[in-house]
């Protein structure tokens, strides 16, 4: 997995975190914040909620980092927390039944040019609009998947994680991951065929 900065080894940072060094955790946050936020955004389709859940995930990671034994990589461990937080949130939201999951009022925010993490150049208005339309279609399509199917396809396609890493992050078998991928892909292919064929 590619991260934002890789000068110091991840294991070293984790060990420093376990000794209570908040600065080391800050470094880990810098490495994973964009990916974690993007992952959660794809799960919940609301920027504010994604922001809050990403914060919750990192706080949980900080509180439980002493228990991290290094059996898996740090990001797999972190993604497990992220997925638990996101899926729990989605389930609670489904139970509450507070309106539709997809919120039309929420617009995809443009990237802040001042941010260090921004790789994109400013887009022209028509390009921006087109991108927003595509993003909306993707969000609507992903919203039709169950939280578990969403998690699997996003970890595979946007994070490039291996089956065993996804299985570890979600606490299920590799076979379950592959099966969920099969159905999630089929569903998204049906819903987004016209989008990816025209992009």
């Amino acid at each position: 997995m590619r991260t934002e900065a890789t000068d110091v080894s991840e294991l070293e940072l984790v060990e420093r975190c376990q000794r209570g060094e908040a600065a080391a955790f800050d470094e880990l946050v810098t490495r994973y914040r964009t990916r974690v936020f993007g992952m959660i955004y794809n799960m919940v389709h609301n920027e504010q909620d994604a922001w809050d859940l990403a914060q919750d995930s990192f706080v949980k990671a900080w509180k439980s980092i002493a228990r991290f034994r290094g059996k898996s990589s740090f990001y797999t461990w972190l993604y497990r927390i992220v997925m638990n937080v996101s899926i729990d949130w989605l389930r609670k939201k489904q139970v509450k039944g507070a309106g539709t999951e997809f919120d039309d009022a929420v617009q995809l925010r443009e990237v802040d040019p001042a941010s260090k993490t921004l790789p994109r150049a400013e887009a022209l208005p028509h390009q921006r609009m087109e991108r927003e339309e595509i993003r909306t279609r993707i969000d609507e399509a992903i919203a039709q998947l169950t939280p578990e199917h969403r998690a699997v396809i996003l970890m595979k396609e946007t994070e490039g994680m291996q089956y065993h890493e996804i299985a570890e992050a979600l606490g299920c078998s590799i076979g379950t991951v592959m099966s969920r991928l099969f159905y999630a892909r089929k569903r998204l292919q049906n819903l987004l065929r016209d989008v990816y064929e025209n992009v």
Binding site: V29, G38, F58, D112, I138, E157, L192, V195
Partner: protein, 170 residues
């Protein structure tokens, strides 16, 4: 044994190799349609990757997180402090109760010990302190029997020529 879904997924992700791949391809009823679907799955993956959302205000995100963690840590320390001081109060209470009970017990024992001799009659005490003159009554013997349940004390005097006047009146 892999299911069809697992094999299909592995094939899409180019994870199926060797004999397993050959067997899978041979089992497909329409190889061309399957290849088309594989291509679509790849396109879908590319689309999802390209449209990945970025985090704006990333530095503010970290700043906010730092503040939250600091606040949480402070609250946790405060809770631990309260917990330990609360425990100290409970311990003090327990010690206080134990000391009070010990003092009460000591007082109770003292009071009962002092009370027991008083429960005996003054008359009996006087009789017991009586000395018989061996020159006057060499065969005299005085015995007492006490039955506490019935609150009765029997004085058995044997060999006396007479009973002292002062006791006969009592």
């Amino acid at each position: 044994m892999k299911t069809f879904e697992e094999k299909w997924t592995a094939w899409i992700d180019d994870q199926l190799t060797g004999r397993e791949l050959d067997d899978f391809l041979a089992s497909l009823p329409d190889r061309a349609a399957a290849e088309g679907e594989k291509q679509e799955a790849k396109q879908l993956g590319t689309l999802l990757r390209e449209q990945a959302v970025s985090l704006s205000n990333a530095d503010f995100f970290s700043h906010q997180l730092r503040q939250r963690i600091e606040k949480d840590d402070q609250e946790q320390d405060h809770e631990q402090e309260q917990e330990s001081s609360g425990w100290w109060t409970i311990r003090r209470l327990l010690w206080g109760a134990a000391v009070s009970f010990a003092v009460f017990l000591a007082c109770a024992v003292f009071v009962f010990q002092n009370k027991t001799p008083q429960s005996q009659s003054q008359y009996l005490t006087e009789i017991l302190s009586y000395r018989v003159d061996p020159n006057v009554s060499p065969n005299a013997s005085i015995t007492t029997f006490e039955k506490k349940d019935d609150h009765v004390t029997v004085l058995w005097a044997d060999g006396l020529q007479s009973f002292p006047k002062e006791y006969a009146a009592k």
